[in-house]
Amino acid sequence: MLALRQAVTRRKLALLIILALIPLGLAAILDSTVAEEGTLIGPVLGGLVISVTLPITVMVLATGAFGNEVEDRTLSLLTTKPVPRWTIVLAKFAATVVVAAPLMAAVAVVITMMDPDGTGNAPLAAAVGVVVGVVAYASAFTWLGLLTTRALGFGLVYVLLWEALITTFLSGTRYLSIRSYIFGTAHGLNDRAFGEDLTIAMTPALVGAGLVTVVFFLLTVRRLSRMDIQ
């Protein structure tokens, strides 16, 4: 509860709502003007929500989870108590997921349902893919927030340079991209609505997301256990 209260300040909540409303507004405009199959799922859900809105939303929450506590020096209030470090990390990680996953899943579901292609289990596929992405990003960005005070900068480099640029042109690197895990999961659940562009198979996508989540979670616990806390 404390982690959740710290994660969601009024300013952050306002920012997250604006971030969520932008793709929804764009989808509404496109829906009323173009309304062709795949118009919303491709450019809006894939190009905007999954590629930009989702990672930035999770980044804002997760990098601040520890970053803010390091900055305002409240971290020592927790680390001088007999609380296992992994439970502190789990609370921070869970707070990010609890806020970001429903928000991003709701945006993904609404946009998918607005698309003529978004029938059958397509909304569910979009939601599951997004939740997988939120979980993996949350773990990676929580670690980044504890590692450096420039977490947002490094996070943006990863999202905009590695995921948006390099993995687009070098297909082999998609196995090291959380965005590809999202596409792979959604495509695996509904291959009609979610095309094969930028995609890897569902099994490696889920394994990759699981590995990223576990590895960065453990790295965060290790970092918290060994770092000097001023």
Binding site: R5, Q6, T74, S76, L77, T80, P82, R226, D228, I229
Partner: protein, 308 residues
């Protein structure tokens, strides 16, 4: 509870450096039950030393043991260790009571009576249901103290606990610390103000520039501090005659004139100088404008002890 014969905290050859900056240099000492003060000017390395004793900062070299156990990475030790660091941090959205209750729950306690006791000890019953964001500096210090003692630790480490408190709160704090000390707890209090530590601690550790300059009984160290020569500036209308008269006093070690015509006197007996200077001025028919100490800052006091 600890026993008087065994150290509650053992610091052995501890150094800490950040890059090329040495924060603590080869410090070794033991802390026993009772009240121990860590005294030193700002930036002397007190907080780094305390942070290492709390397990928050890893020594670059040496070891710190609390209650016989390595403190670094020893999470279970925090059940017997209470910590209040210098940084004035709280969760501003929480009430004081919720903050102390959170501290208790993080200790694995679900004990409202313990929360009541800690808040009572901090004398914050009236303000316990207010958000800590509305507290004064002194109140914030006291609610943090309540959070540090709610689990009744054997060792209590308090970094600058009297910052922001008023004189009445200082007296109450001294009583509170004395009670804990009588229960056999080991309490470590840091300060950069000599008089604060004097009122609270029996033993002191004097830290200057990352080094342990002196350790032991407070009064012996205080005497050593009082023996140091003091610089005093005296303003008089007949500077040269006054300087000649002053240099003849036993209490005066040397006399010089500064660029503004003031007399600078080095003395080991300020009281005697203060008593004699007006008499001398009267004898030579000089007006006396001022008598003021020049180097009574803590830094100069500490520097003197280090040089010794």
């Amino acid at each position: 509870m600890t026993t008087a014969s065994t150290p509650a905290v053992e610091v052995q050859n501890v150094s800490k450096w950040y890059g090329s900056v040495v924060a603590v240099n080869e410090a070794s000492f033991d802390i026993y039950p009772g009240v121990t003060g860590i005294l030193g000017p700002n930036g002397a390395g007190k907080t780094t030393l305390l942070s290492m004793m709390c397990g928050l900062v890893k020594p670059s070299r040496g070891s710190v043991r609390v209650l016989g156990e390595e403190v670094q990475g020893n999470i279970g030790l925090y059940r017997r260790l209470g910590v209040m660091l210098e940084h004035d941090v709280l969760y501003p959205f929480m009430t004081g009571r919720d903050f102390v209750r959170l501290a208790a729950r993080l200790q694995g306690m679900n004990d409202e009576a313990a929360v009541d006791r800690a808040i009572h000890a901090a004398n914050l019953e009236d303000a316990q249901h207010r958000a800590t964001g509305t507290y004064s500096r002194g109140m914030r210090q006291r609610i943090r103290l309540a959070g540090a003692i709610v689990h009744e630790p054997d060792v209590l480490i308090l970094d600058e606990p009297l910052n922001g408190t008023d004189p009445r709160q200082r007296v109450e704090f001294a009583d509170f610390v004395a009670r804990l000390s009588m229960q056999g707890k080991a309490i470590l209090i840091s300060s950069h103000i000599l008089e604060e530590v004097e009122a609270l601690a029996d033993r002191i550790l004097l830290v200057v520039s990352g080094k342990l300059a002196a350790a032991g009984d407070f009064h012996a160290i205080r005497e050593k501090l009082d023996e140091r020569p003091f610089q005093v500036r005296i303003g008089a209308s007949k500077q040269r005659e006054m300087a000649a008269a002053l240099v003849a006093l036993d209490a005066v070690e040397s006399v010089s004139l500064d660029e503004f015509g003031n007399i600078e006197v080095l003395t080991r007996n300020v009281a005697e100088l203060q008593r004699m200077a007006p008499k001398l001025a009267q004898e030579i028919d000089s007006r006396l404008y001022r008598i003021e100490p020049l180097d009574d800052s803590l830094e100069s006091v500490f520097s003197y002890v280090v040089q010794r």
